[in-house]
């Protein structure tokens, strides 16, 4: 796969279709592939990587990149194309300046899950027949592939590309995921239990802003939390209220726009399941206003900027589930 991608990228660079390539490059460790822009065939040969750890959603980078001189080639996984499409809907990406190649998605691996097995000093990770062979400083370890799959891939919603110029590999389908199971589990708790759950999760927040900075829906020129005029600006959460405030407002601002790409949870250094907040909104929207998948197409109206005359009343919130 990686070879094929490099080959095609070099062709497109050579024939002048694009002048840059957005992909991933190897990091210091085998498992920290990071997004990168390549300008020459040599750079591609040397650094370009696409493996079990190239999880990062590249679509957000295209906001800035598509505004630069010349066309850029972007390799997008199915989930990334949803974000890409949503950003097109919001006029944030200039489509003409991007050449999209759809590539198959995961499942990708979460190194934290490998480390959680007590495996450290990782040098390389190889998938051999769904068994991970992990070379470490201390010898070779093995573990089942499926136990190391990242949260976002385990609950994958779709393997179908919703926007691309060409595809490498076979096209997949929209899946029937169980992504709302955890939300439902929480909904079935008592109010006090839910409060305790979130109190302990959100109190871990160190306000590093990683979730915001990686989120392809959080693309504001100037975030309200950085803007003294908004009245709610804050640098670091001073107490538990501000922790909640930040995450409620953030979830609300991306409600109806969040494509559920799972990046927020992936990058959280404190492992807070932030995607649950977004999924709660998605689940509510689906059940109250009809199935809606942000980014799935270019025409459906976002449920928060739309309405029906016979929408349910907010009292549904007070009447359902457990108090």
């Amino acid at each position: 796969m990686q070879e094929e991608m490099i080959k095609r990228a070099k062709e497109l660079l050579a024939d002048g279709t694009v002048n840059r390539v957005l992909g991933w490059k190897k990091g210091e460790f085998a498992y920290d592939s990071t997004p990168a822009v390549f300008e020459t065939a040599e750079e591609l040969e040397r650094d370009f990587v696409c493996d079990d750890f190239t999880q990062a959603n590249l679509s957000k980078y295209l906001i800035k990149e598509s505004r630069k001189e010349g066309k850029i080639l972007a390799f997008l996984k199915p989930c990334d194309t949803y974000s890409f499409n949503q950003l097109l809907n919001e006029h944030r990406i200039i489509r003409e300046n991007v050449y999209v190649i759809g590539i198959p998605g995961g499942p990708k691996l979460d190194v934290e899950k490998i480390k959680a097995k007590g495996i450290s000093g990782i040098i390389s990770v190889k998938n051999e027949n769904f068994t991970l062979k992990i070379e470490t400083l201390y010898g070779t370890e093995t573990m089942p592939f499926y136990e190391a799959i990242s949260e976002k891939c385990a609950n994958c919603k779709s393997k179908k590309h919703v926007e691309y110029d060409e595809l490498i590999g076979a096209e997949g389908d929209v899946l029937n995921s169980k992504r709302f199971d955890m939300v439902e589990q929480l909904e079935n708790m008592t109010s006090q239990e839910r409060y305790d759950f979130w109190q302990s999760e959100l109190s871990k927040c160190i306000r590093c802003n990683a979730c915001r900075n990686v989120c392809p829906a959080c693309t504001c020129e100037n975030c309200v939390f950085d803007n003294p005029k908004s009245g709610i600006d804050q640098k670091a959460a001073a107490d538990s209220f501000e922790e909640k405030m930040f995450h409620i407002i953030r979830a609300f601002h991306v409600a109806g726009r969040c494509t559920d790409c799972g990046e927020c949870t992936r990058v959280c250094p404190q492992n807070i399941p932030l995607h649950l907040l977004n999924r709660k909104f998605i689940k509510d929207i689906n059940s109250l206003y009809g199935e809606y998948q942000a980014g799935a197409d270019r025409t459906t109206k976002c449920p928060l900027t739309d309405y029906k005359e016979d929408d349910c009343e907010p009292s549904v919130v007070h009447e359902r589930g457990v108090e």
Binding site: L186, S191, Q199, M245, D311, P314
Partner: protein, 146 residues
Amino acid sequence: MQVNENFEPVIVAFCCNWCSYAGADLSGTNRLNYPTNVKIIRVPCSCRVNPMFILRAFQKGADGVIICGCHPGDCHYTSGNYFTRRRITLLYSMLDFLGIERNRTRLEWVSAAEGAKFAAVMNEFTEDVRKLGPNRRLEDLRCRKK
């Protein structure tokens, strides 16, 4: 839960200028009593109420927040309250999801003619919040009153 009889909740009511604020005025004109705990903030339309305002109220010490707007279909701006209904339903659902007591938040449709309804809603809401006791789950400790 123990009910503190002496607890006086702070209640912020956002009322749209055209229907609910006028409905509140009408309950005054008709001398219909509701508790002094309720303080009204006038907004042009219920759709002007930003979730930030609601959180801000809880942060600064409110124990309950209620939003009042024109009945669906009667919005002065034709569609404002339909947006309110979706936004606030989702926000309240989220607050509930985070374990905030659901009776601290409410949305009511009160027309300019419903002075009696306005007073009744405020009486009921104040009692609901009084039963819940002070807001502890969504407060900013720095703002707590002695």
